[in-house]
């Protein structure tokens, strides 16, 4: 009943889009994380306008659809004349960088909230204990607050990373031929939607499964590190 030659053919073609999918996810996740650190910092800053900017950033990118953000960047930025004449334009003209920018901005908003939540969840008495040992400022953050927050935020960040893998599929709509882009082409030309859906879906499921396994492993290692310290 299953047309194996067709399935393997589809699989082969789809896998050629896998590197692009992974690239999009990896780049936007790392850029997004760096941005998120700034946004979270700004959100906790004593300077009110910074706080407002951070809040607006989070609100905007979490409250609107990712596809809209992609369109806004891909079609909208060209309307800004100074940008069109700047050194950035060769990048921002490319759907590839537009997709990465949109994905990174999008995940940065969610990640900033995750960071904020994780830091807020650090028990007050552990911070007190650090202060009691004479720690403060960066040392307190580096040795006490951030490690504890990392442990607490890791699981939530894991699901954000998985969502981002799925989100890269929207890059196909601005012409990128990553996994979903290829799948769409195959569907339009063969109309064998069910087979192609199954194979493409399976690849995404495998990716998300690997991602959650990786995060579980990371978490376990941090846990072990923690236990070792305590002993």
């Amino acid at each position: 009943m299953l047309d194996w030659p067709f399935l393997t053919d589809v699989l082969g073609q789809l896998l050629s889009g896998l590197p692009l999918t992974l690239q999009l996810a990896a780049l936007s996740l790392s850029i997004g994380f760096a941005l998120a650190v700034f946004v979270a910092g700004a959100a906790g800053s004593a300077f009110a306008p910074l706080r407002w900017a951070a809040k607006a950033h989070v609100e905007l990118f979490r409250g609107t659809p990712l596809l809209l953000q992609i369109f806004l960047i891909y079609y909208g930025l060209g309307q800004i004349a100074p940008l069109r004449h700047s050194a950035l334009w060769p990048f921002l003209r490319e759907p590839y960088w537009c997709a990465i920018l949109a994905l990174a901005l999008n995940t940065s908003a969610y990640t900033a909230e995750i960071i904020r939540g994780a830091i807020q969840a650090v028990p007050a008495h552990e911070i007190e204990a650090g202060r009691a040992c004479g720690m403060s400022g960066l040392l307190l953050r580096r040795r006490i607050i951030w490690p504890i927050a990392l442990r607490q935020g890791l699981a939530v960040y894991g699901s954000e990373a998985i969502l981002m893998i799925k989100a890269t599929s929207l890059a196909s709509i601005i012409t990128l031929t990553e996994l979903t882009g290829i799948a769409h082409k195959l569907i339009s030309s063969t109309y064998r939607i069910f087979e192609i859906f199954i194979v493409t879906g399976a690849i995404y499921l495998a990716l998300t499964f690997l991602m959650s396994a990786a995060f579980a492993l990371l978490e376990r290692q941090l846990q072990a590190h923690h236990a070792h310290r305590r002993a």
Partner: protein
């Protein structure tokens, strides 16, 4: 510039105000129908996952794993292309030659419903698991039948516990409607794109669409919060 902008966004014959407003209506309708369909799938999925027979639990598990793990846009394609493949085959074998497809609104509602349902399954399942077994037992001990127990005790409390998660899932459903622009549904994003194309003002129109999404999300979120705090009242000391 300002007067031009008013004309662009106005409700006159040159203005994009009315089409955008209509498109916002389509967005809300698709999100609402999809979410409600998702509630049916979600309650069904949670029932499967909580059922005793292993086979049923596995079906429920497969459902949530697949539709939470696969990109939403692929699910939209599945219903778009799959729907027309099935419909065309049926019609052709029934003696009606040609090519047929489902209305894009219907496809959109189905796609959002099935994805939202996978997430709602988890919301309902974990809410059900939080129920106090003692209270259910107390109902049984008062002679309540299974159905009465479900209607009077289990359902209201499950809804109460699921509501915060359901609020988040609603927001996702609302944003997912934007994917339906790719299958030709004239919802907010597509209408904004049309306006952007014919006026060469993408920045303006996408920003407006973003603002409308924010307003809808905020307004419905506030409504849900009020409902949540109303339903949470009995649990506060």
């Amino acid at each position: 510039m300002t007067s031009g902008m008013f004309e662009l966004l106005g409700f006159g014959p040159q203005g994009w105000g009315l089409p955008l407003l209509k498109a916002a209506g389509v967005t809300i309708a698709a999100a609402l129908c999809g979410f409600l369909l998702g509630s049916i799938f979600g309650i069904g999925g949670a029932t499967l996952k909580l059922a005793r027979p292993r086979a049923l639990r596995l079906i429920g598990q497969a459902y949530t794993t697949v539709f939470r793990g696969v990109p939403e846009i692929l699910v939209v394609y599945l219903f778009y292309f799959g729907g027309s493949v099935i419909l065309t085959t049926l019609m052709n074998t029934g003696g009606f030659p040609g090519f047929y497809s489902l209305p894009s609104f219907v496809i959109g509602v189905l796609a959002i419903g099935i994805v939202s349902g996978a997430y709602q399954t988890e919301a309902y399942r974990s809410a059900y698991l939080r129920l106090d077994r003692g209270q259910i037992e107390a109902g049984t001990a008062c002679g309540m039948s299974k159905l009465l127990l479900l209607r009077r005790i289990v359902a209201p409390q499950t809804l109460r516990f699921a509501l915060p998660a359901l609020g988040n899932i609603w927001q996702s459903a609302l944003k997912e409607t934007s994917l339906l622009s790719v299958i030709g549904l004239t919802e907010l994003l597509r209408q904004a794109g049309t306006a952007a194309g014919s006026t060469r003002q993408p920045l303006l129109f996408y920003a407006i669409a973003a603002a409308v999404f924010l307003v809808i999300g905020r307004a419905t979120g506030a409504g849900l919060n009020r409902m949540e705090s109303h339903l949470a009242k009995p649990w506060r000391r």
